[in-house]
Structure formats: C-alpha cells, structure tokens
C-alpha cells in the first residue's frame, strides 16, 4: 500500500484516474483502502429530473448504480429502497445545500455543489461538502483566461455527539485542480495538483452545526488555495528558475539542497 501511495504522489495529477484504475486492478484486495485514501477528481454531475437541478455523483450518495439527489432526496435512476438520511438529518442537509450554494456562488462564481449527510454510529453524523468548478473559458470561467481549468473539492466532516453544549468536528479536505493557458506566442502552460489536509476542532453548538462546519470549510479552503498558489506552484516556479536562471539575476529565494 505504501508503494501504491508513493506512486500516486509521483504520477502526474492529470493521470490520477488512470493510475488509480491501474492500481485497483493490480491490487484488488486493497481496493477499499485505495478508494478511501486516494484523491480523485469528482467525476460527474447529474441532473435531478424532478427538480431540474444538478448534483454531484460520488461514493457518499451512491447505492448500487443509482445516486441520491440532495435536492429531491430521490435516487436516479429510481431505486426501490435506497438508504435515506433520517428526517432530522435531512432537514440539516436541505439547509446545508441551500447555504452552501450561496457560499459557492460567492467564491466560485459558478460551478456545482452538493452536500450529503448521513448517520454514523453513536449519535454522530458525517457530512460531505462537494464543489466542482469548471473554470475554462467554455465553462464558468468569468475572465476567459483558462483554456482548461478545474477545481474539485471534497470536504468530509465527522461530527461527534453533542456533550455539554460542544461537539467535536474532524474535517478532511481534498482539493484537486488543473489549469491550462494556451496561446501561440507562449505555448501551453499547465499546472495541476492535489493536496489533502485535516483539521479538528471542539466547538460550541450555540450557532448550530452548519455554521461551525461552514466556517471550518471556508478556513480550510482559504488555506489550501494559498498553499497551492504560494508554496506548491511557487516551488515549481523556483525549479524553473533553478534550471535556467533569469538573465539579470532576479533570483528567487531557493533553499539549496
């Protein structure tokens, strides 16, 4: 498994689907581990035929070959007795989807989001917030810079039972992105990457679960975006300048070996 995870860190993020598929066929007995530990771009978006709204497909809303829409709470294609969240969690799920839609609009100016919530053992629950953004100029890219661009975020929060007015929240976030600019004079420029982080907090439930989860996600996304931009992309930029130092000695700080 260690070897498998190392491979996933080395193969280009653009090829991660092919790589994972290959690993699954080589290591069928490790498929559960692989699927839970490897980050993959969110696959598809489906249309809720009843309410005509899009929702994201993933393992968390799947049963057999059908997927549950967070809008109508129905499975598509229809499923006889697919699992549904409890009425209480469903209420939270509805609110979460509505509020997250606005959050998504404000930060992403487009894209699709979905939230799925389900019971865990011991009065805990798990909430999964997903965002899929196509930022290319043919997609939702407002400014038209990107020939190709995608941002996929998966935030899974485990919320523990309420004890004396507080609850424990454990967030695992994964962001996968790819961006490509292309023009005749500067050629093709593509940056792609994936990054996964965790964050845990004990918070008062006075403002409600949604508020707590939302703030954690917002903080996490901000950190990941900055990290990707400054640290990760920055390192690749430093590498380019190491390979071919700029002519008038505008050296970027580079930790030598």
């Amino acid at each position: 498994m260690e070897a498998a995870m190392d491979l996933m860190r080395r193969i280009s993020p653009k090829e991660s689907e092919t790589a994972l598929s290959a690993l699954l066929s080589l290591l069928p007995h490790h498929s559960a581990d692989l699927l839970s530990q490897v980050d993959l771009p969110l696959q598809q978006v489906c249309m809720d035929q009843q309410l005509m709204k899009e929702f994201i497909l993933c393992e968390y809303n799947r049963d057999a070959d059908s997927y549950r829409s967070p809008w109508s709470n129905k499975y598509f294609p229809p499923l006889e007795d697919g699992p549904l969240p409890s009425p209480q969690l469903r209420k939270l799920e509805i609110e979460a989807n509505e509020v997250f839609t606005v959050y998504r609009d404000q930060y992403y100016e487009g894209g699709v989001s979905s939230v799925y919530i389900w019971e865990d053992h011991n009065e805990s629950f798990i909430a999964c917030f997903l965002i899929k953004k196509d930022g290319s100029r043919t997609g939702h890219g407002r400014r038209g810079y990107l020939q190709e661009g995608s941002w996929d975020a998966v935030h899974v929060i485990e919320v523990g039972p309420e004890e004396e007015g507080t609850a424990h929240y454990r967030l695992t976030s994964t962001v996968m992105l790819s961006l490509t600019t292309e023009d005749k004079s500067s050629g093709t420029f593509n940056l792609s990457g994936s990054i996964r982080r965790q964050m845990s907090h004990d918070l008062s439930v006075a403002e409600g679960h949604l508020c707590n989860m939302g703030k954690m996600i917002e903080e996490m996304e901000g950190k990941l975006r900055n990290s990707l931009d400054q640290v990760y992309f920055g390192k690749t930029r430093e590498m380019v300048c190491t390979l071919r130092p700029p002519p008038d000695g505008i050296q970027l700080r580079l930790p030598e070996n």
């Binding site: 498998a4 653009k14 890219g141 004079s185 093709t188 703030k215 931009d229």
Partner: protein, 315 residues
C-alpha cells in the same frame, strides 16, 4: 493504455475479482514506468516492483519502458573513459543499446534499466559525417556548448546530423538536430525538474537559407505532502541565411538564445498572473464583498435569494 484490465476488482460482492494476465500486468507496469516524472523512474520502479510481486513480469516491463523513458527525457550518462556524457536520444540511437556521441565521435553501449554506460568505442567512418558536414556541426556544437554552459547550471547539449551527413561539399541540403537538456533532482526537497529543448536546423543550400524549428518543454514536480506538477511547452520557428560554419553557428545560437530567453520570461509572466487572474477563474480569494462568508445569517439568504420554506427559520 488498455482500459481497466478486463473488469477486474468490480463492486465488492462475494466473489473473487478476476486475475489479470501476465501480459496485462506488464502493460500496466510499463505505463507507470514510462509516465514517471523526469528523474523519478528509479523510485517508481521500486514501487512497481513491490506491487507486482513478480520479478519476471517487472523485468519484462522494465526492458521496454526504460528505453522509452530515457529517450523521452534525454538522459545523460557518463562515459567510462571520462570523456564526457553521452545523451540518450532517438537522434543518436544506432540500435537498442548503442548511442552515438557526436562530440567525441564515440559509440556508447548502455544498460537502460540500470541507467549506466557500460562501454565506449570509437565510431566507425561510416557512422561519422563527412569533413564538410563535421565542420558545420562541430563549430555549431562549440558555440552552443558555450551558451549552454553559461545559461544552464546543469545543462548538457549535443548536435546530431540527421540528414545529408555524407555531403562532400556545397550544393547539398543537410539537417541537424540540436538537443539541450537540463535536469535538477532534489529528492530530499521533494522537488524535481527538467528543461528540454530540441531544435531542428535545416540547411537549404539552393535557397541559401536555414530554417529553424524549436520545441521547448519544461516540467517540474513538487510532492511534499501533496502532488503538484508543471507541464509547459512551446513550439517556435525562425530562420537565418546560409553562411560559413562560424557565422552560421553564431547566428543559430543567437536565435536559440533569443527564443529560450523569451520563453523563460513568458513562463515567469504566467506565474505572476496566477494569483489575481488565472487562479481567480477557479476560485476567488474572497467574495466580492471582501469579507468572509456570514454563516450565521441564514435569514439574510432567505431574503436575498427569495427562499422561504426550506431555510431553518428561527434558528
């Protein structure tokens, strides 16, 4: 690559997933090896070997994948007589394990999987270009080496004659390929990178004209607790007049220098634009309001978005 290997590992029902055939496993191993980033194939090899658990299949895959990888990344291997490095390229390939080094006029035998040069011998007369061609080639090589030495801290280069090498004198067309490669490995810093440029130089005698076509490719990989890769490329064209070997060398090198310097600047510009323009098309740093999202005020949303029923009113 072959899609998913015959439906193995499906669903997770009670039955055993289908076993892949040896050939299918080797294909997958080959894919991983060939797609390893520059300088990381040995690490990938170790992983693949451990996952396969079958040395025979690994060796089958490695024998095919390593040469492809080495050629694609213009691997430079030290020659045993310490006369320099030989570059592993399709242009200098005489056969599967023998590669021509134009600068020292030698032929190197290599072990692709171990990535070492095992033997050198002087090139035969029929493997070498004519004196007329060699004059052009070596003068260009000298000029380029100077440029590469000054510009790339870890650069190597070679000039191959790929067409018309037996021309005895003026009146014939001939073609060179210039290969420049610079590689930096920093595995302890989880960072690797490669700069590669390949220039086709076509000398057209009748038009007294030299046509130049370049392909530059830059890659970088940073993977400390994450996996981020840069993949950038450019194709460009230029030309100059057919002159003496010395003047042609200077002219061609200037053109190469000009385009490569410009390309570096354009890469820098792409990076500078990232935070405020290109990245913004994916996700803004902050909403237009320039404040964090007001999670507490769900009532506000009902009003602005005209939703009444579903919101947790009175929360």
């Amino acid at each position: 690559m072959a899609d998913g290997g015959g439906g193995g590992g499906g669903g997770g029902g009670g039955d055993e997933p289908e076993e892949l055939s040896d050939k299918q496993k080797a294909e997958i191993a080959k894919w991983f090896l060939a797609n390893a980033p520059a300088g990381e194939i040995q690490y990938v090899a170790k992983d693949v070997r451990s996952i396969l658990g079958d040395d025979k299949i690994y060796e089958m895959a490695a024998a095919e994948a390593f040469p492809l990888h080495n050629k694609a990344h213009l691997l430079a291997l030290e020659m045993p007589d310490r006369s320099g490095d030989v570059l592993i390229t399709t242009y200098g390939e005489l056969d599967k394990i023998n590669y021509f080094d134009p600068r020292t006029a030698q032929v190197a035998t290599v072990d692709h999987v171990k990535q070492v040069c095992t033997n050198v011998r002087p090139a035969n007369d029929d493997e070498l270009p004519s004196p007329y061609i060699e004059d052009f080639r070596s003068t260009l090589d000298a000029e380029l080496s100077k440029y590469v030495g000054e510009t790339y801290p870890k650069g190597v280069c070679a000039v191959y004659c790929v067409s018309g090498k037996d021309a005895e004198g003026p009146g014939a067309d001939f073609e060179f390929v210039v290969v420049i490669s610079a590689v930096k490995h920093s595995p302890q810093n989880f960072c690797n990178g490669i700069w590669q440029s390949i220039w086709n130089i076509e000398f057209k005698d009748d038009l007294q004209f030299v046509e130049i076509k370049g392909k530059i490719q830059v890659g970088a990989h940073y993977f400390e607790e994450g996996n981020v890769q840069l993949d950038a490329k450019l194709e460009c064209k230029d030309s100059t007049i057919f002159q003496s070997p010395e003047d042609s060398a200077v002219s061609i090198t200037n053109i190469v220098r000009h385009h490569e310097t410009e390309y570096l600047a354009s890469l820098e510009a792409s990076y500078v634009n990232l935070p405020d323009t290109t990245f913004k098309d994916l996700r803004r740093k902050l909403p237009v309001t320039r404040t964090l999202f007001p999670w507490q005020n769900t009532m506000q949303f009902s009003l602005t978005r005209d939703i009444t029923k579903e919101m947790g009113i009175g929360k």
